[in-house]
Symmetry: C2
Subunit: 389 residues, 2 copies
């Protein structure tokens, strides 16, 4: 049920023709009664934000943190499209608002796809009113919405976390450019718990920090990243810590699905760093390893080449002592105090041949820890990204 | 003639068996009379430097900037090898010193290859004395040395710059991990101009900054990077600016050969950024574009996807205004003031289909400029790096 699992939400998807394939490409998630409810969002930190990011940010500010709907399209990012692009994002929101009976400021907009190409508005003009008219609270509506926002994703990404007296649901998409600060990923989370917008904002901020912001496919940060959360309040008040935890778990579930489905990926890799002087340095070191094309190629080949890990740690710009570092794969130490140690090579190779891989480095300097979820770099990534169409 | 073109130098190569292929893997460049001459070097900034880097740095300090020879091996980086690794690097220097009749501190050591594996010293013990005995000042010696230091390089890299009354020669290697701060690249430059060690140090520092440090294959910085320059003085004093310029040109020539021969590369790409608020921000922006796997995949496919360039500029951590940026390929503007502009698409596609590609971004903010030489990201890179052997 995902995004429609919490009481008070409807969703749906349509094939408007933005994708030339004819696949679903337009989604709406709305409150069942078209009422604006407390809402919050985290947006990309890219200084070239796409039009929908600029428009959604302005709408949330104008509405005082309330939204009745989110409209999402795939196949066109509406980024680097200038004033005309912003007008198109505004018009997209207005089309949904009119069909729902809400105000334009109560509708948020998300887009993903190619950058620099005008959004084909005539297709949205035609497709949005009938889509809004048939939004539903059943599973089909949520699945259609999750499917419509896919780009090079191979699976629709949905989550549902059942709390004590409330539910959190969510849909998301993401395939490449998954990087520090949530790259090319969109997610819409819903809950029926009653939560004020400001509190919701803190919850989604916290949830994103430890999940979407801890994954990296290729180190690139997109122009369109957005995570929205809406709280219908239909289930009444709930324990704040419990809601926050459920939102974090929903984000974590979607993040894990995104990394597993990254372009060309054959393995999900958890790059952990412990023993850094502080958490910030641990995070920087983990990202340096996770973003290394050389390390990721090794992981694609299932090769426990810890020397590349040490080399990336040494050039990560963090405190580092080559005589204190150790590296383990799946819990088996291959390098200790900076040099190779005898270990069961068959166990390590078997771990690296699996779908879930763990690489942990101990810098031996302090108590700082962090992890980054990433994937291997294989030929599929290049196939996917060498041409726009 | 490359490294033996300047008067007063000899060189040679041998197949010691470090490379299991039986190819040449050991090189020596020395002064013809085994006399220590003014020498300087630039080393990797990686905080996990390999043993030969630590040893060479100490030797130059102990000798007061004089060296009689450089010994280089490929197939084993002697990195992450601890105290035993440093002892092996010292012994390598001593073997050459004994054979030449120089002191150990007058010999520098460079290694490249796999990290974390002990250097097979018995092979060096056997191979080094006869190699030193047959060093020669002819072309064969220089070519053998240039060939012996190749790893995944497909061509030996040599340069010769003729100055007014003096000559600069050089050999180099580099294939992957070519990144900011000279990754996995080695170069030995020689000149017969008479230059003091301190001056030579400034010259090589300047030369590296604008050449090797302005190239990037995959953003990784190696544990072994070293650029050595030795001045025999055989040609007598020369104009300092002219020698410095010749060293810079020699470095530039080797750098261009390295990028062109990068693992799996099919194109050399010059990523230029102009109009940044200062040169430092221009450099950071150019590197962000050059290190982007998404941009490099586009370049592999010959796809002028300027939206990815804008996206990387927006997340490069530099001052950026999306309404001022423009992007051009081979001089043809495809994006101006942040949006697509009409242009001759056939001309752009034809430029991108070539071996030499130019991508220039104008941030429209100031007078800062920089460029980075890089290459495309194709399946060959993954094939090369997915397994150690």
């Amino acid at each position: 049920m995902s995004v429609t699992a919490p009481a008070g939400f409807v969703a749906g998807g349509a094939a408007s023709g933005i994708k030339s394939s004819g696949d679903l490409d337009l989604a709406v998630v709305a409150t069942a009664d078209a009422r604006a409810v407390p809402s919050a969002a985290v947006f990309t930190a890219n200084l070239a934000p796409a039009a929908p990011v600029m428009v959604s940010r302005a709408h949330l500010a104008a509405s005082g943190g309330r939204a009745a709907a989110v409209v999402l399209n795939a196949g066109n990012a509406n980024g680097a499209t200038g004033i005309a692009g912003r007008a198109n994002a505004e018009r997209t929101a207005a089309l949904v608002a009119n069909a729902l009976g809400a105000t334009t400021e109560e509708v948020l907009v998300c887009s993903t796809g190619i950058i620099g190409v005008p959004l084909p508005m005539e297709r949205l003009d035609t497709a949005l009113p009938p889509l809004v008219a048939r939004l539903s609270g059943d599973e089909a509506g949520a699945t259609a919405a999750a499917t419509a926002i896919m780009t090079t994703d191979t699976t629709a990404k949905q989550t549902r976390i059942d709390g004590d007296g409330f539910v959190v649901g969510g849909i998301g998409k993401g395939a490449a450019m998954l990087a520090p600060n949530m790259a090319t990923m969109l997610a819409v989370l819903t809950t029926d718990a009653a939560v004020e917008a400001a509190v919701l904002g803190r919850m989604v901020g916290d949830g994103v920090a430890s999940t979407f912001n801890s994954m990296s496919v290729d180190g690139s940060m997109s122009t369109n990243d957005t995570v929205v959360v809406m709280a219908s309040g239909s289930a009444g008040p709930a324990d704040e810590a419990a809601v926050s935890d459920a939102i974090r778990r929903g984000c974590a579930d979607l993040a894990a699905q995104m990394v597993a489905d990254a372009e060309g990926a054959t393995r999900v890799v958890r790059i952990a760093v412990i023993g850094a002087v502080d958490d910030a340095e641990a995070r920087r070191a983990a990202r340096a390893v996770a973003d290394s094309a050389l390390v990721k190629c090794s992981l694609h080949g299932g090769d426990p080449y810890w020397g590349r890990v040490v080399s990336e740690l040494g050039s990560a710009g963090v405190s580092f002592d080559p005589e204190r570092v150790s590296v383990s794969y799946g819990g088996v130490t291959t390098c200790s105090k900076g040099v190779a140690v005898l270990h069961d090579e068959a166990v390590v190779r078997s771990h690296l041949a699996g779908r879930q891989v763990e690489v942990q480095s101990d810098l031996g300097l302090g108590n700082g820890t962090a992890f980054v979820l990433t994937c291997d770099l294989g030929p599929g990534y290049i196939d996917e990204n060498m041409r726009t169409s």
